[in-house]
C-alpha cells in the first residue's frame, strides 16, 4: 500500500486514535509540568523553589488580630512558647535570640525586623554578624465570621553547608518544621486559654522545668 492512497481502515483509525491520545497525554504532561493554577502556600509545594528551606504553618486562634499582633510584637514574650528560645534581648534596632543548644550551651542569633505592619505582619532576618542565616515572618489575617485570626508562621533558613554548618543548624533547630508547629500550637494555647497545656503530674515534670534544669 502506497502512502498517498491509503484509505482509513479500522487499524489506522485506531492508530490515529492512539496517536492523538498520545498527543493529548503529552500536552497534559506539559501543562502539568508547567503547573496549573495553585493558590496553596509555597511551603506546601512538593518541591519548593529556591535555595532556602522554607517551613510554615497556620493556626486559627479565637482572638482579635490586634491582641495577637501586640503580644508577638513584644519579642520578650516569645520565649514563653518557643521551646528552644531561652531569651530575646533588645539592643537598639537589633535583637539577640539566645537559642538553647545541647549540653546546656546556647547560640546567639542577631536579628533585625525587616517588615512591620501593625496588626498584619512582622518579619525578621538574621544580620551579617550571625553565625546562622535565617529569617522568619508571622502573618495575621482575619478568619471568616467569628472564628478569630489566622496566624501563619513562616521560617526560611539556609540548608547547612559542611560539617560545621550542619552542627550549627542542628543546634539552632533540629527539626525546624516540628519546632515551628509546636511553637505555634503553644502560642495558640497560651492566647486561647491563658496557659500552656501540660499533661505533667508535677511541676518538675513539665518541659519548662526540665529545660530550666538543663539550662
Amino acid at each position: 500500500m502506497r502512502d498517498d492512497d491509503y484509505t482509513p481502515s479500522g487499524a489506522t483509525l485506531t492508530g490515529l486514535g492512539l496517536a492523538l491520545g498520545g498527543l493529548a497525554f503529552g500536552a497534559f504532561l506539559a501543562r502539568r509540568h508547567k503547573g496549573g493554577s495553585d493558590d496553596a502556600p509555597i511551603y506546601t509545594r512538593k518541591s519548593p523553589p529556591g535555595d532556602h528551606a522554607v517551613v510554615g504553618r497556620t493556626v486559627t486562634i479565637r482572638k482579635p488580630r490586634a491582641e495577637l499582633y501586640e503580644y508577638w510584637r513584644d519579642f520578650s514574650n516569645l520565649p514563653a512558647f518557643m521551646e528552644n528560645v531561652e531569651a530575646i534581648k533588645e539592643q537598639g534596632d537589633t535583637r539577640t535570640w539566645v537559642i538553647k543548644a545541647p549540653g546546656g550551651n546556647t547560640v546567639d542569633v542577631v536579628t533585625e525586623v525587616t517588615q512591620d505592619r501593625t496588626n498584619e505582619l512582622i518579619a525578621w532576618a538574621s544580620t551579617d554578624e550571625s553565625d546562622i542565616t535565617t529569617s522568619g515572618r508571622v502573618e495575621f489575617t482575619d478568619a471568616p465570621g467569628e472564628r478569630g485570626t489566622r496566624v501563619s508562621l513562616i521560617m526560611a533558613y539556609d540548608p547547612p553547608g559542611g560539617a560545621a554548618g550542619r552542627a550549627i543548624a542542628k543546634m539552632f533547630m533540629r527539626e525546624p518544621e516540628v519546632q515551628a508547629r509546636h511553637d505555634l500550637k503553644r502560642f495558640k494555647a497560651l492566647m486561647e486559654t491563658g496557659e500552656i497545656t501540660t499533661s505533667a503530674r508535677r511541676k518538675d515534670q513539665t518541659r519548662e522545668a526540665k529545660q530550666q534544669e538543663n539550662g
Binding site: R62, G194, I196, T198, S199, R201, T206
Partner: protein, 394 residues
C-alpha cells in the same frame, strides 16, 4: 499516693507514685472518692492501644472532692465534682461549638504529632488513656490533677450519692450520645450491639428518646438480662442468626438505626474475625470490627449507624458498598461529655435514668488489678467495677 499503673499487656499494678500538684492557674487537685474501670480500659489492658508507657496511671471515670485549686479555677475546696474524661479548654473553635472532644488545646503541642499522623488531626486530651491523648495521669488513684477545671467538672449536690452520678464522667453521656447520634424517631426500631455499660446506657437512652422497640445483642446471659430489665428485646448472637432475626423483628424492613457499642475487640468466630484477631496479635493492627460490619448489613436503606464503640486503627473488608448503596448515615466520635452533663444530672435526680443497676462490684483501689482481671475474664458476672480509695481492704 497509691495509683493503678500500666506495665504491659495484662499487667497492671497498684503502686506508690508522686502526688500531683497544681501546675497551671486553671488546675484543680481532686481527692478521688469513686473511680470505675471502663470497657475501653480493657483495650489498654489488652495492649491494643498504641502510646501507653509503663508507669502510666490509668482511669478516666472518676469523681471526688476538690482539695486544691489554682488561682483561675472556679471550683471551691470541699465541692464534690464529677470529672469528664475528655479534657476541654473551653476557648478554642471546637469547644465553642460544643464539640468538646475535639478540643484543640487540651492535648499538649508536643504530644499531638502521633495522633495527627494516624488520623489527620490530633486528638484532644483524655485522662489516663495513652500518650496519643496527652499522656495525662488518670483517676484510678487517690488524687488527680485536673487541668482547665473551670470547664469540665460538674458540681454534685450533696443528696446524690457517688454511685448515682459517677457515670456522668463517661459511660452515661457516651451511651446517651450513641443514641442521639442514631437520630431516633418515635416509630423506630433500634438495634444495639454490645450490652456492656455503654450499650446498656444506649438501650436506656433510646427508650427515653421514644424508640418504639430496642433490640440488644450480646452473648453473656447476665448482660442480656440487664438489657431486658432496661426494656429491650434481646438476641443472643451465639444462638441466633442476628441479621435474619433483626429483619424478622423489624417486620422485614430492617432496623432504622444501629448502635455499635462494642468497638475494636468484637467477639466472633467467623473466619474473617479470626484473621483480624491474628493480625491484631502480631501487631499489624487491624481492628476487629465484626459488630460494626454486621450492623451496617442489618440497618435498613437510608438508616443511621452510630458508633460509640472505640476504634483505634484500620479494618479490613469494610462493607463500603453497603454503606453507599443503602445510603447510610454514619456518626461516631469520642463523647462531647460537657455537652450532656447538666441535662443528664437532672435526669438522674428526677429518676428518669437509673445509673446504679449495672454496678456488680465495689472494690478498694488496692484491689484494682484484680478488678481488671475479673472484668476482663468474667464478663458475664463482672458487669461494672467501681473502685473506692477509702474502702477497707478485706
Amino acid at each position: 499516693m497509691r495509683a493503678l499503673t500500666w506495665h504491659g499487656t495484662h499487667d497492671v499494678r497498684v503502686e506508690t507514685v508522686d502526688d500531683p500538684e497544681i501546675i497551671n492557674p486553671r488546675d484543680a487537685i481532686i481527692k478521688i472518692t469513686s473511680t470505675a474501670i471502663c470497657g475501653s480500659d480493657l483495650h489498654l489492658y489488652d495492649g491494643v492501644i498504641p502510646g501507653v508507657v509503663p508507669g502510666d496511671v490509668l482511669g478516666h471515670e472518676f469523681m471526688g472532692e476538690v482539695v486544691e485549686t489554682g488561682k483561675d479555677s472556679t471550683l471551691k475546696k470541699g465541692q464534690r465534682v464529677v470529672i469528664p474524661f475528655t479534657i476541654s479548654c473551653g476557648g478554642c473553635f471546637h469547644c465553642k461549638i460544643q464539640q468538646y472532644s475535639a478540643c484543640e488545646n487540651s492535648n499538649p503541642a508536643e504530644k499531638q504529632d502521633m495522633s495527627a499522623t494516624l488520623y489527620g488531626h490530633p486528638m484532644a486530651g483524655l485522662f489516663g488513656y495513652s500518650h496519643l491523648t496527652g499522656g495525662y495521669s488518670g483517676g484510678q488513684a487517690e488524687y488527680v490533677r485536673v487541668p482547665y477545671s473551670d470547664v469540665g467538672p460538674i458540681v454534685i449536690p450533696d443528696h446524690l450519692e457517688d454511685d448515682k452520678v459517677l457515670f456522668l464522667s463517661d459511660i452515661l453521656p457516651t451511651g446517651w450520645m450513641g443514641a442521639e447520634n442514631a437520630e431516633i424517631q418515635p416509630d423506630d426500631t433500634v438495634a444495639v450491639w454490645g450490652c456492656g455499660p455503654v450499650g446498656l446506657f444506649a438501650v436506656q437512652s433510646a427508650i427515653v428518646m421514644g424508640a418504639s422497640k430496642v433490640i440488644a445483642i450480646d452473648h453473656y446471659p447476665n448482660r442480656l438480662a440487664l438489657a431486658k430489665q432496661m426494656g429491650a428485646e434481646t438476641i443472643d448472637f451465639r444462638k441466633t442468626n442476628v441479621r435474619e432475626a433483626l429483619m424478622e423483628m423489624s417486620g422485614g424492613i430492617g432496623v432504622d438505626a444501629v448502635i455499635d457499642a462494642v468497638g475494636m475487640e468484637a467477639h466472633g468466630f467467623a473466619v474473617d474475625n479470626m484473621l483480624d484477631i491474628a493480625k491484631q496479635k502480631i501487631g499489624i493492627g487491624a481492628d476487629r470490627a465484626k459488630a460494626l460490619k454486621q450492623a451496617i448489613l442489618a440497618v435498613r436503606p437510608g438508616g443511621r449507624v452510630s458508633v460509640p464503640g472505640v476504634y483505634g486503627g484500620a479494618t479490613d473488608k469494610f462493607p463500603l458498598g453497603a454503606l453507599m448503596e443503602k445510603g447510610l448515615q454514619v456518626r461516631s466520635g469520642q463523647t462531647h461529655v460537657q455537652r450532656y452533663t447538666k441535662d443528664l444530672l437532672e435526669k438522674i435526680d428526677d429518676g428518669t435514668l437509673d445509673t446504679t443497676f449495672m454496678i456488680s462490684h465495689r472494690l478498694p483501689l488496692e484491689d484494682a488489678a484484680r478488678g481488671y482481671k475479673c472484668f476482663h475474664d468474667e464478663q458475664n458476672e463482672w458487669t461494672k467495677v467501681v473502685l473506692k480509695p477509702d474502702m477497707e481492704t478485706t
